[in-house]
């Protein structure tokens, strides 16, 4: 029997699958060709999480679509709620009350913090730094508790940032609770400075993406900023109340996995500052425009088209919405930042990498298969 088996070739190409059932990869795979320990070519294998949101949204009212927009990226539902709400607001020419705008920014930034915490956690797990993973997911739960208090759900806010404002006001004493959670987040960011040499060795100089390549392949958000370009939609085209808030855009020039990870942590510090400033200036008043006080089944969206772009935790997100005067949108096109990060950028970075570095490169891009496949 053994005689019939062909001996393994001493040198040659192998096919190697990373995902889609790998515990660290999410619902996404990469088909790799390797020779020895070197990756010769990589081919992304997307489509395992396609749910067809663009089509589903054509059959639903804006309020129902707000609920649906949670699922665009499970790890940061609130930011996607915001972008959908803004698209509908602009199409329907709705004046959002000031308090609602502040609440929207507070919730979007809290969502960004918890998304970056997940990123830090899974990146630590991928590089074998288990303590970082446990710290991250332990502290993330404090933000989940806040979401539970404010929106009524831990992961899915069910369209909390809805067209016309937000679905309900903060319960009493929420401001103090948010501030105490922010103190805990600052404590966590300090803990994340605890890095050992083996962690640095696994991340420094790995998966280097030059600025030229980043621009050519369409990288945005933290990936582009880690390659040395200060690009942030919140600064370039401020939406909601970002023009009144003072914050920095962290930039690094190295473009390696370590730089991308550091950008995430520095952005968390900036987001904590943004939430503090917004809480300081939080005005009173209504949280929902009068047109959307009570859900109405007969509200029609005026004919027109709009493109909204936002800075979500993973990069630049966009939503193009066309209406021809019906109750439901005629066409919705969603631009997720991860489509470009997970296909061209990942394929480019994996080419020529060592097999042991694949998880570090993969997770340093802050991926989300839900956002890519939609």
């Amino acid at each position: 029997m053994i005689d019939q088996l062909e001996p393994a070739p001493e040198k040659g190409e192998y096919d190697f699958y990373f995902g889609p059932a790998h515990p660290g990869s999410g619902n996404f795979g990469v088909k790799l060709k390797i020779e020895g320990e070197k990756v010769i070519s990589a081919r992304a294998d997307p489509g395992y999480l396609h749910r067809g949101f663009e089509k589903l949204m054509e059959y639903r009212l804006p309020l129902q679509n707000a609920v649906l927009s949670d699922r665009l990226c499970i790890l940061e539902a609130m930011n996607w709620n915001l972008i959908h709400a803004q698209a509908v607001d602009q199409l329907m020419h709705i004046e959002v009350p000031e308090r609602a705008q502040y609440i929207r920014v507070i919730m979007a930034e809290l969502s960004r913090i918890q998304s970056h915490i997940i990123w830090y956690g899974v990146f630590s797990l991928a590089t074998g730094f288990d303590t970082g993973f446990k710290i991250a997911f332990g502290y993330r739960d404090y933000i989940m508790d806040l979401f539970e208090l404010i929106t009524g759900g831990r992961v899915y806010p069910a369209g909390y940032l809805c067209p016309g404002g937000v679905r309900r006001d903060f319960p009493p004493n929420t401001e103090q609770k948010i501030l105490s959670v922010l103190d805990l987040m600052e404590e966590m960011v300090q803990l994340e400075e605890l890095e050992n040499p083996s962690y640095l060795q696994r991340t420094e100089g790995i998966g280097v993406l030059s600025l030229e390549d980043a621009l050519r392949l369409g990288a945005t958000g933290p990936v582009l900023r880690a390659s040395g370009m200060a690009s942030d939609v919140r600064k370039e085209e401020p939406y909601e109340i970002y023009d009144r808030i003072d914050f920095d855009v962290p930039v690094k020039g190295e473009g390696d996995a370590y730089a991308r990870n550091r950008i995430g942590i520095e952005e968390m510090i900036q987001s904590i500052g943004i939430v503090r400033q917004a809480l300081d200036e939080l005005p009173g008043g209504e949280v929902r425009a009068s047109k959307f006080k009570k859900p109405k089944l007969a509200t029609k969206i005026p004919a027109g088209e709009v493109y909204v772009r936002n800075e979500v935790a993973r990069g630049e997100a966009g939503m193009y919405m066309v209406s021809n005067g019906e109750k439901t949108p005629y066409r919705v096109k969603i631009r997720g930042p991860d489509f470009l990060h997970m296909i061209p950028v990942l394929e480019f970075l994996l080419k020529g990498a060592e097999v042991a570095d694949i998880p570090a490169i993969y997770w340093s891009l802050n991926i989300c298969p839900a956002d890519m496949d939609r």
């Binding site: 609920v67 332990g138 539970e148 009524g152 899915y156």
Partner: protein, 123 residues
Amino acid sequence: MNIWILPALLRNLFSKPMTVRFPYEAIPIPDDYRGEHIYDIDECISCELCAKICPNRAIEMVEAPEKLKEKYPKKYPQIDLGKCCFCGLCEEICSKDAIKLSGNVFLSTFDKSTTIKHPFSEE
């Protein structure tokens, strides 16, 4: 080794863990949590708004059984918790506050038929 790991180490040795021992203790659930529905049939006016706003079409309007038909002649919402996404739009649109989401989150079951909440089950 980073020297300031020591205070963090000492603090964590003598502090409570982040987790709770679940079946015996649980984290408190806020009042506004979106859990299982509470339905009051006597408030309901059978307007069907909840069935129309439901994004997942989890609400179906059903007729009362024969013995209750005299008291409840219209159609009433039957909620399929298996389809429900707990968004709370039915609660928001209801003008009579007949439908509300409660803090009950313990909804897992072995029997699939129990996921359907019949409006007359408590009669």
